[in-house]
Symmetry: C2
Subunit: 394 residues, 2 copies
């Protein structure tokens, strides 16, 4: 069991959004928290994102509410009113201001919340006690389970902040519609480290860019992407670099858990590109590889068809990428430009049968050691993905 | 049977590139042709593309050679030498200069041609007679069949140039690795219209941009994309606008044939976007929709999950796209912002069970009638796509 950091308690329940599983969770701090939050850049961002973006910009937050199995997206004025009612209802039970409540919601697009059931649930929300009890607990795993939609496993992890008593605990959800632009579907990171709001924000945005913004299951950017980080500050001061490392470790672990649980996924794909003009070029080429349906299906079938990686590098179209300077490796095996014979193809296929496939491309635009680099994560494309998504709402 | 235009003859045969089917075809004109050709912008473009790009730029072409089932891509200096040897060998048999021969090649990446067998085949190539006979014919269907790789049907069509005796005949191949940047996998358009090289080039490039550059099966841009158009000029002068219309009709038909035969595809998807700032924005949003795996799987399952189209519009991220001005239709049925009730969802699902699904989005950035617009084509994503591509080289 992973315990929440000091200062946080959670209450999870079923509101009847879609079925009888937990679909509503409140994580609340005893006092206002240093807060950082990043959101999708989708032009169809839902009311939860719009409301939380405004609240996070207004100052410290006290609580994060997650409703799962309905995204409340493309729902017009009625959807916006419903989001405000949920935030206000939770704030009233917690005895805080509505603007101290952040809201995230994922699930089907274009349907209103069943507000009769939501109102009944909100009215029955017990007040937050000082210690676990009365429906409130400190179990992070329960939070991770409550925010799941079609995830097959809950996603939770923790890290200690070296040289202090502080910890970082993170939960996330997301298996499809995953190519985050500012954050992944939903990730909530909590810490009891005593960090200032500015420091937290800078560290969190950098970490998000290196982790959640480097995963893609299917190139489809969600309307609901939300990643928030709250610091209760109850565990005292920390070394800023140790804190940043712990934050990175938690976010990276959640990112890998998301990639490995991609819809229908059977394998994790990690693509590292170095020797690029800059980090942006490295990331763009790495994304082209990890998102290529032909690379993803080849990995699925353990088909040693490395030419598809060459194709994906080629389609970046950058003038400074020169075929004769590119080096492609699977794991530690070079497949281009070194010619791969039949024995080599058999070894490559054997490597690709593992549950993690690493593809490494040195672009040769700059020096491999000092040039731009990026690592991104994704998953294979399977008949399971098609099955899951051809029949989701019905 | 579709006959080639006047002035063209074709010879198809098996060279033993991979199996016993036709894998080599030469289409040759009696005299030099007005020529236009466009190619992939991939940085891993193969020797066929590099050679043909140089030859097409140098002046009129006399022949197009297509080798299928081996792309001759990422094959280094040896691959480049082999491409030159094929062009020179064909030129010798035709009695023309090597630079009058264009070469296109598709199939597996990273393997050398089996040159022993290729040389034997080239040595046995009969000289081109003045009329059909001696292994040379005027059957366009035979050309379409010879250039297939994993295509399930040959792609061929023709159009008459109104007010003249001239025709345009086109063949194409391509089912996967299809998101052309300058052209599709391979398309060869032939005409006997007496058009000048400049006029032909301008008309062809415009037509390619509106047709082949608007199809995507899987977002993966090929290393081998080649579209060429040769005019023998044997049928006399034509009205330029009538010629452009015939060229467009042929290219559009081939484009739709490619989309409908996408790997594993069971349905054609046509996406039209209007009311955009300009044509570029319309095309970008339309491509985001037609390429979304979640839209493609919803179409496959006839799942009336129109929210995925909203998601795909949203991920374009353009600041001027405003959720409250967007209108989404499937066929003639508006699904957003008009609310869809249960009867509407059932009607939508019934529509989506057809073999062609049309999605129409008015962006509302500009007037729908006068603003930027684009139409693009694609196909659904099926378990068949995964099966075909997880096991292609082996």
């Amino acid at each position: 069991v992973t315990a929440l950091p000091r200062g946080f308690l959670a209450h999870a329940r079923n509101l009847g959004i879609k079925d009888a599983t937990h679909d509503f969770v409140v994580v609340a701090s005893a006092a206002p928290c240093a807060t950082s939050a990043v959101f999708t850049r989708s032009r169809f961002a839902g009311p939860s994102v719009l409301l939380s973006r405004a609240h996070a910009a207004a100052g410290p937050a006290r609580a994060v509410v997650v409703i799962s199995k309905n995204a409340n997206v493309a729902t017009g004025d009625e959807g916006a009113r419903n989001a405000r009612e949920v935030a206000a209802g939770v704030a009233a039970r917690l005895g805080c201001a509505a603007r101290e409540v952040l809201l995230a919601s994922t699930g089907v697009i274009g349907r209103q919340y069943p507000m009769d059931r939501v109102r009944t649930g909100l009215a029955g929300l017990p007040a937050r006690p000082a210690a676990p009890g009365d429906g409130w607990g400190d179990d992070a795993d329960a939070v991770a389970r409550a925010i799941m939609t079609t995830d097959t496993v809950p996603k939770v992890t923790q890290a200690e902040v070296e040289g202090s008593a502080a910890r970082v605990v993170g939960v996330a959800k997301g298996v499809g519609m995953i190519e985050p632009d500012m954050a992944t579907m939903i990730a909530v990171l909590l810490t009891d480290a005593a960090v200032g709001a500015g420091e937290l924000d800078a560290a969190f945005r950098r970490v998000v860019d290196e982790t959640f913004n480097c995963v893609s299951v299917d190139t489809d950017t969600s309307t609901s992407d939300t990643a928030v980080c709250l610091a209760s500050r109850e565990a005292g001061p920390v070394d800023p670099r140790a804190f940043a490392r712990a934050l990175h470790e938690v976010a990276r672990s959640l990112t890998l858990q998301i990639a490995r649980d991609g819809e229908g996924a059977e394998k994790l794909i990690e693509v590292e590109v170095d020797g690029a003009r800059d980090a942006a070029q490295a990331k763009r080429v790495a994304k082209a590889i990890v998102n290529s349906p032909l690379v993803k299906t080849a990995v699925h079938g353990a088909d040693p068809n490395w030419g598809r990686v060459a194709m994906a590098v080629g389609k970046s179209g950058d003038d400074d990428v020169r075929e004769e300077r590119v080096v492609i490796r699977f794991g530690t095996q070079e497949v281009y430009p070194r010619r791969v014979d039949e024995t080599g193809l058999a070894a490559l296929s054997a490597y690709m049968r593992g549950d993690t496939v690493r593809i490494h491309v040195s672009l040769g635009v700059a020096d491999a050691a000092t040039g731009g680099r990026a690592t991104v994560w994704g998953c294979d494309l399977t008949a399971g993905y098609v099955r899951i998504n051809a029949d989701y709402t019905t």
